[in-house]
Symmetry: C2
């Protein structure tokens, strides 16, 4: 059979205050289109459907729409687990009804040992869990780490393997590459709470969620992170996001990456203020793109954020990558004496990376007047 592997939707996530729901709806539409074009037999979502344990009403409504559309309208069997960002209880509300249309949402450890069979494949759906839950489940105080828990869980799952079937694990945890070749996971995952991929070898494929880059386990042919459908931080700005199409009827399974095109990209621009503000210079960004700016300048720039936003409306981050070469003593002292409010405004913007609001300007003015008055008394 053939399925689509995605994860880490993080519905409801905001990017420095910018609502990502429209982007997430767009990415969802692309995923659905791929599922249809590829004629998959099922869609797998490996955890972190929501961004928060307590998602907003808008996030709940959006995810509900997507699940209804994919499963009830488009009739794709759907296999999903809760991730560490989800509340299993809240996400899982109503899950017993979902199976009526082959939507298998699993949020408890116990359910991982009740595989779902679709076509020629048994799916083991293991939600994110903490070691204490495995300790309780197996009634074994020796289980202290995810690693130890996984050894027990994999053995218990193997006992449920049916011969002649393929076996897929869907899970949400840190997995570490076997050959120390995957530097990214080696850096990111910590010791005993990383699951070595060797432990997962009984499965024909492991569909993982948790890390947002598909490259996290790039040297493992059958243990994969799908990565998130969108870039959620500047560290992901160079990523190509997408989903895996997995065919289980070859040995080993065949995996194909299908990219998603960001509606509004997340771009890091590293340049001087003068260049950035120069309309002649073409940065290959769209006006609605999310822009992180790394300023190379070494001199203070008044109203820097406000001015940058006239050219790039959705600046999500502003960083200086070089030290200022002037000390406060060298600054034009006359300017300070001439307009403390202006200086305060610039300082505010540099620290908060937001322009001062009207009310804030009023407060600043009042505070400065009070200070001046006190000074004179």
């Amino acid at each position: 059979m053939r399925f689509l592997h995605t994860a880490d939707w993080h519905i409801g996530k905001k990017l420095n205050g910018y609502d990502l729901l429209p982007e997430q709806r767009d990415a969802y539409q692309q995923i659905k289109a791929i599922a249809k074009t590829e004629k998959v037999d099922a869609v797998v979502v490996a955890g972190d459907l929501y961004d928060r344990a307590l998602p907003s009403e808008a996030a709940v409504a959006t995810l509900d729409d997507m699940l209804v559309d994919l499963n009830r309208q488009e009739k794709f069997p759907l296999l999903a687990i809760s991730g560490n960002h989800d509340s299993g209880v809240r996400l899982g509300y109503g899950q017993q009804w979902f199976t009526s249309t082959e939507f298998y949402l699993r949020t408890t450890l116990a359910s991982a040992l009740k595989p779902i069979t679709i076509g020629d494949t048994q799916f083991f759906l293991l939600p994110y869990f903490e070691p204490f839950q495995a300790r309780q489940f197996f009634q074994d105080d020796q289980i202290k780490t995810v690693n130890q828990a996984m050894a027990r869980l994999v053995a218990a799952m193997q006992a449920k393997f049916q011969e002649g079937q393929h076996h897929v694990l869907v899970a949400h945890f840190f997995a570490a590459g076997s050959q120390h070749s995957d530097s990214e996971t080696a850096v990111q995952v910590g010791g005993l709470n990383a699951v070595p991929v060797d432990l997962l070898s009984p499965f024909d494929y492991v569909a993982l969620g948790h890390l947002h880059r598909k490259e996290a386990l790039q040297n493992e042919p059958t243990v994969k992170y799908s990565g998130s459908p969108l870039k959620f931080s500047t560290s992901e700005s160079e990523d190509t996001k997408g989903v895996w199409i997995v065919d289980t009827d070859t040995t080993p399974v065949t995996v194909t990456f299908k990219p998603l095109k960001p509606w509004h990209d997340l771009v890091v621009l590293t340049d001087s203020f003068e260049h950035l503000m120069n309309p002649e210079k073409d940065y290959d960004v769209q006006s609605e793109d999310f822009i992180a700016i790394e300023l190379t300048d070494t001199m203070p720039i008044p109203n820097v954020m406000q001015r940058l936003k006239t050219r790039f409306p959705r600046v999500i981050e502003l960083q200086r990558i070089n030290q200022l070469t002037v000390t406060p003593d060298e600054l034009d002292i006359h300017q300070v004496q001439r307009d403390p409010l202006q200086l305060m405004t610039e300082f505010f913007e540099q620290v908060t990376q937001h322009p001062m609001q009207v009310t804030q300007q009023k407060w600043a003015k009042e505070a400065l007047q009070a200070a001046e008055k006190e000074d004179k008394e």
Copy 2:
């Protein structure tokens, strides 16, 4: 057909800090037992399933268990709407799947005009709504009140009436009795936002939620509040809680009240401290009952809450119903000088109705020592 009418479950509600989930589970079991004994064809829950728009995980899990049990295990068709305490969006998550087992949960105004037919009866499920929602729905700026909205909604529902069927409205709002005989609703409901029962006459029965006392419309034979299954405040201490069993195959419909027995009752005791503390006196309360105390005493009583709790462990309220007859001048000034900490402790308990905790006692002691020191300096 025959159905059970309940409402205002308020799952997750606390009573002065006491978790009511165990009481709510017990009440649920009684409701289920009545549904089984009475062999009803459906169960109606007329809103306020949760106590809060953002229920706790424990509340979500508890309600989910009840709904699964009643509908999936016991196979009762279930008709429910959101009330003003619910978030329609959160409660309604997954609702499209629920219909697979005849669980009809409705949370939007539009759904009220799509009746559900069970046996010989059309059910119109109207969730709690604000006038602006009706204004938007009907695209009519003239709709300013619930009353006006209901006139429009009832007309639209009537257009969906099928001949030969009975018609039941399930709703969650203030309704006012037609004959000014129902003093309770007359007092409680305010002017234009109360729906006069005359407006509801096209229906064979109206199953309401919102007010917690079944007596709220006691002179209306076919427009009923079921009331809450539990006593949620001292004003409800004298209520008999329960559910209605409604038979639609008579004209008018036949309604029968079935009481629920509180596991732990909510009782108001009005007496003197001396009587209350006297073990000889029998108040006909169980040790786990929730007790609201109205003290008749006119003298200060040291450590009153702490001492009352030795006899009644779950005091939820403490009120003095008589004025103190001593003025501060008449109080024993020697006691004040002897032990300020003791006085402070009593004052704290009288104001907060909780005993002072160990840490709080420490803070009080330190504050008093500091004050004393300052006094001497």
